[in-house]
């Protein structure tokens, strides 16, 4: 643990600290050609350069001292910070539902990580209670850290592990499940869990936060309260995503795990149900259904866990001028399933035809989804579409591209018989393909036009 004395420092900066015997968390007096600096030496983020030493000065601010200006350095004291979210026992309340929180990483409740300079999650019920005491009024909480990965590192192995853990918890009689998750691939995981955990008798709610809980305006606390509320009290026993409705701290939305998508890189209200309406709105007091039909909560424990996934599945985002060798390369590398994300109603150009034929001949399963995100694949309308179907590409209805990818992976994890694959792919599971698109399913407002401006002024967006 010797290196811990100089957390994060490397190269020249590390040499200098060692030379003057000044440690991280040591109080230092540093003379430089720019004058004197006094403060506590802080750890340095791993990716920052080796030319500066970080000090927390007495007023609480951090400053960096350029090592090339340092003429003398002295450690005058030492005090290690004890960074900890206050941990209090999560109180047990009679008559409140029992909810399990699975941790996967992500920023639901978090603290600073000096190594990366980013935030790392806080997680135990005690920590969560310390940070969001209101949770104790909603449910009796237990937690389990299944693994800790960043959202972008979630993948098939994690989906399977989660599904199995959920299955066990349901058998043990839990009344609701919450999964804390980074937001980037939240909708991939929600789709995967929809396929892997079927016929659940209790709500399974995925939740994240767009602003980490180390900031006062974080959406984490409210999202967490909403998610616990949904898991413990809602009648909707489906895999759902629970995130902000508007960017204001007002209410959350419950989205079906197969119809939801992250639509903005940084907004709080980034998750949207596509091609349909969300399941319900939710606040701390009530859940207001939007959709009338859903799988209701049950007393039995008859859940089916199907933890299958083939990693020989890929996606191909089509662009004008795409060359056939891109598709050939995928096939040559052994991919068995390809979700094509086509233009318009589901098209790619003629130049790709030979490659498509070769792929089909090799038994590759190809499904067409849309770059437009909204709407159905309609391959009968133009000749191109008919040609593509004739070559073996199957239109995937209004399945979202990411959902189609997850589903194809899940299906190919079970069979590679073309007819069985097609049957499984096109049989809707929890509305991954819907029969109809409601008129209010597609809503992308156009800022600037008078009626939208009026709406925005009146309604908190």
């Amino acid at each position: 643990m010797k290196d811990d004395l100089f957390q994060g420092y490397k190269g020249k900066a590390l040499e200098l600290l060692k030379k003057y015997n000044v440690r991280v968390w040591g109080q230092a007096m540093i003379d430089t050609t720019r004058g004197q600096f006094n403060g506590t030496v802080l750890p340095r983020a791993e990716n920052d350069d080796d030319q500066h030493i970080v000090l927390k000065i007495e007023t609480g601010y951090n400053v960096g001292v350029d090592i090339s200006t340092i003429t003398e350095m002295k450690e005058t004291g030492f005090k290690k910070a004890n960074y900890k979210i206050p941990e209090k026992d999560f109180p047990y309340t009679e008559n409140l539902p029992s909810v399990k929180l699975f941790g996967t990483g992500g920023t639901i409740a978090s603290r600073l990580d000096y190594r990366t300079g980013a935030v790392i999650p806080a997680f135990s019920p005690g920590e969560l209670y310390g940070a969001v005491p209101e949770l104790a009024d909603i449910c009796n909480l237990t937690t389990e850290k299944v693994f800790a990965v960043f959202s972008e590192n979630m993948g098939p192995e994690q989906y399977k592990k989660l599904a199995i853990a959920i299955g066990k918890e349901i058998e043990n009689g839990i009344e609701g499940i919450v999964i804390g998750h980074g937001t980037d691939t939240l909708h991939h995981t929600s789709a995967a869990l929809t396929y892997m955990v079927q016929n659940s008798p209790v709500p399974i709610v995925l939740v994240g936060s767009q602003r980490s809980s180390d900031r006062p305006s974080s959406d984490a606390a409210l999202n967490l309260m909403h998610a616990m509320h949904a898991a413990g009290h809602s009648d909707i026993a489906e895999v759902m995503v629970c995130m902000f409705g508007p960017t204001s701290d007002e209410f959350g939305l419950l989205h079906k795990g197969t119809r939801v998508r992250k639509m903005h890189s940084s907004y709080r209200s980034t998750f949207r149900t596509i091609g349909d309406t969300p399941l319900a709105t939710i606040d701390r007091k009530k859940i207001t259904p939007i959709k009338k039909n859903y799988n209701p909560r049950r007393k039995d424990r008859n859940v089916t866990i199907k933890p299958y996934f083939s990693d020989k599945v890929t996606m191909m985002y089509y662009y004008p001028g795409m060359k056939p060798d891109t598709l050939d390369a995928l096939v040559d590398n052994g991919y068995k399933g390809i979700v094509i994300v086509g233009t318009g109603l589901g098209h790619v150009n003629k130049e790709l035809y030979p490659a498509i034929k070769r792929a089909a001949a090799k038994g590759v399963h190809m499904y067409m989804t849309l770059q437009t995100i909204w709407g159905y694949v309609h391959m009968f309308v133009y000749d191109t579409g008919r040609d593509l179907m004739a070559m073996g590409i199957v239109p995937a209805g209004n399945m979202l591209p990411e959902v189609a990818f997850i589903k194809l992976g899940w299906v190919l994890g079970q069979t590679d018989d073309p007819e069985e694959v097609k049957e499984l792919m096109l049989t809707p599971i929890n509305d991954d393909i819907t029969k109809r698109e409601p008129y209010n399913g597609y809503l992308v407002y156009q800022g600037g036009i008078p009626e939208v401006e009026e709406f925005i002024r009146k309604v908190h967006k």
């Binding site: 720019r34 609480g60 960096g64 090592i67 960074y83 206050p86 900031r215 305006s217 701290d249 908190h460």
Partner: protein
């Protein structure tokens, strides 16, 4: 039954007890007696095109109802980097405020409402901040680290201000002493508050995110005037770069004050430097008074550790209360609560500030922390909303009060009562300690009210959204080349020129000394004359005419250049300035025409002197030499202006 107190008399008595003196009568001796100590945090907006962390325009402002959208947020305290919760944060959380932001698309993007991470720091702002840091003799940091400073009042939608230290440990030179500087930081400005009523606070986001610097001094000022001198100095220094904003709200300061045995109290957002002396004077005496309260409480309360308030919900009828405000509140469903403070008899009406008593300290906190609008409190010991003798006797009876106790009632919405009672007890317990650490809001009359608990270093957190910015030596050296002369040297320069001292503030505030220097050097116009015409005449014009948006001080150089080229007397600038101030685009020649100016040579002008002297005899005026000269001057003055120095003209009349 508690001892009955004449609140007005007690106010006067305690005021005398602590040796309060009005500021106009106060001497350094008085300030030394109570241990006056003060430091400054001077804020100055920088004149950049764009905001600090996003590319919205800076310096565009809107009316309150000129907005496109509203966003609602609640703030929740988070841990500091060192793992502590900040006191202010917890207080603000207690208030349960709903914060509404009114957003105008022109001046706010997704960054302002915290829906997008920060963009790169504005380079222009960073350079100005470094320049001012160099002027302030600060040690420039090697790497700028963006820090988050928590503000849970909602004034910033993220819940924190992004701020960064540019330099530490500097100094400024006042007339008689040096004041050391702790640091200078570059930060984003906050929202402007529209309203704050009950549990709803409304802000607009136009000012939010504009670059601002904060210069912090050590608490080394020992009297109110010195604080003002220091504040002026820092503001002049900032202005001397010509790169900072001017106008209302562009410069604001927080003033820290303590007395001997007191605590650091921060008077926030002082809009005008001239308010500083009265505010610091009163704050220092307020603390002195609170120490007297502590002394008295020590005598009347034997065990302060176990001290508790007692309270009871009552009805107006129960104590025969006639106060219309309270009765109306009760009719509106608000609760009325009677409170007994053991051992506090005579404390509630103890002097704190001119016109204010200890009870106000409680009332202020009820408004801010429990969100109960004022008036919210009534007592026999109050100066306003006084309970009658019979009312307070009933009150004491209901509360089973003892002789040394004090009572009051407060009223407010049911949901706020719990917080209110906690707040009252908390404030009273603080009285045993002396002076609470707090920030206070200032008023033009020199009084202050409680604003919030004083935040500590615990509210700082590194900004995980932005990378540190290294400042290389070469970069700093290149900025050093452009920095202006020290303010203290400017003052010396003006003295040397013989410019009257009463113009200094105006000339420095508007950074006009470099202009004087340039005109003096290049056009050979007398600097003393220039100092007077700018420091007196221009100042007068500013106060009496409407300024055109196009008016720029640069025009004054052009004016003198023109006068010189036309061989006109510079004195006519006095008459031309008001016109140029209102119509800066007017040609100088047209200005002269509008003044009915005609070019004449000395001979032409002085020719009629003899004739006029004859004419003077026909006037009814007393025939003294002085009157004669003045009368002739009066007749010739108008034509002479611009053609002849008036002093010269006078000489001509005298000698004719």
């Amino acid at each position: 039954m508690s001892k009955s107190i004449d609140s007005r008399k007690n106010y006067e008595k305690t005021k005398k007890e602590i040796g309060y003196v009005a500021r106009k009568d106060a001497t350094q001796k008085d300030y030394d007696r109570i241990g006056f100590m003060s430091g400054l945090e001077v804020h100055q907006q920088l004149n950049t095109k764009e905001k600090l962390f996003c590319r919205c325009p800076a310096g565009v402002f809107h009316e309150n109802d000129d907005y496109d959208a509203e966003v609602i947020r609640h703030m929740r305290p988070t841990l500091s980097e060192l793992g502590e919760y900040d006191g202010t944060a917890l207080m603000e959380f207690k208030t349960r405020k709903e914060i509404i932001y009114k957003i105008n698309n022109e001046t706010a993007c997704t960054y302002e409402v915290d829906d997008t991470p920060p963009f790169k720091i504005d380079k222009e702002a960073l350079e100005i901040a470094i320049e001012i840091s160099l002027l302030s003799k600060l040690n420039i940091v090697g790497e700028v680290h963006i820090t988050r400073k928590q503000y849970l009042d909602g004034s910033i939608p993220t819940g924190f201000q992004r701020t960064a230290i540019i330099g530490v440990e500097g100094e400024i030179q006042l007339k008689n002493k040096k004041i050391r500087l702790i640091q200078l930081s570059l930060e984003e400005d906050s929202c402007r508050e529209i309203s704050d009523i009950g549990h709803t606070r409304v802000y607009k986001t136009d000012r939010l995110g504009m670059p601002l610097i904060e210069t912090v001094t050590y608490p080394e000022f020992v009297n109110p005037d010195e604080v003002m001198e220091g504040c002026n100095y820092i503001r002049f220094l900032n202005r001397s770069t010509d790169k900072v904003r001017t106008g209302i709200g562009a410069g604001r300061q927080d003033v820290n004050v303590s007395c001997k045995g007191g605590t650091r109290v921060e008077i926030k957002g002082v809009a005008h430097t001239k308010w500083i002396p009265e505010l610091t004077h009163n704050e220092c005496f307020r603390q002195w008074a609170l120490l007297n309260v502590r002394k008295k409480l020590k005598e009347s309360v034997s065990n302060s550790k176990k001290w508790k308030i007692s309270s009871k919900e009552i009805t107006c009828a129960e104590i025969g209360l006639k106060n219309k405000i309270v009765i109306e509140a009760e009719n509106n469903g608000e609760k009325v609560v009677a409170v007994n403070l053991p051992g506090f008899n005579g404390i509630l009406s103890h002097f704190t500030q001119p016109g204010k008593i200890f009870l106000d300290e409680i009332s202020d906190r009820l408004k801010v922390i429990a969100c109960i609008e004022k008036p919210n409190i009534a007592s026999f010991e109050a100066l306003e909303n006084k309970l009658s003798k019979s009312e307070s006797e009933k009150l004491a009876e209901v509360l089973k009060a003892k002789e040394k106790d004090a009572q009051f009632i407060f009223w407010g919405p049911e949901d706020d009562i719990k917080t209110a009672l906690e707040t009252i007890e908390e404030r009273c317990i603080m009285a045993f300690e002396g002076v609470p650490n707090e920030t206070r809001k200032s008023f033009a009359d020199g009084s202050t009210i409680f604003e919030r608990v004083l935040p500590g270093a615990d509210r700082m957190y590194p900004d995980t959204d932005s990378a540190p910015i290294p400042l290389q030596n070469s970069y700093i050296e290149s900025l050093k080349k452009d920095i202006p002369m020290d303010v203290i040297d400017r003052m010396e320069q003006m003295k040397k020129w013989g410019i009257p001292e009463d113009t200094f503030t105006y000339l420095l505030k508007n950074n006009l000394v470099p202009l004087i220097e340039r005109i003096n050097k290049e056009l050979k116009v007398d600097a003393k004359f220039l100092g007077t015409i700018l420091g007196h005449r221009l100042k007068y014009i500013e106060g009496h005419y409407n300024k055109s948006v196009d008016f720029d001080y640069k025009i004054i150089y052009a004016l003198f250049k023109y006068l010189k080229s036309q061989k006109l007397d510079f004195g006519i600038a006095r008459e031309m300035l008001p016109i140029l101030y209102q119509h800066p685009k007017m040609e100088f020649e047209s200005v002269l025409t509008s003044l009915k100016f005609k070019k004449r040579n000395k001979e032409e002008l002085t020719a009629p002197i003899g004739f006029l002297k004859e004419k003077f005899k026909e006037t009814g005026k007393k025939k003294t030499k002085e009157n004669e000269i003045n009368w002739v001057m009066g007749e010739l003055r108008k034509q002479a202006v611009g053609n002849l120095d008036l002093k010269d003209l006078r000489k001509q009349i005298e000698n004719n």
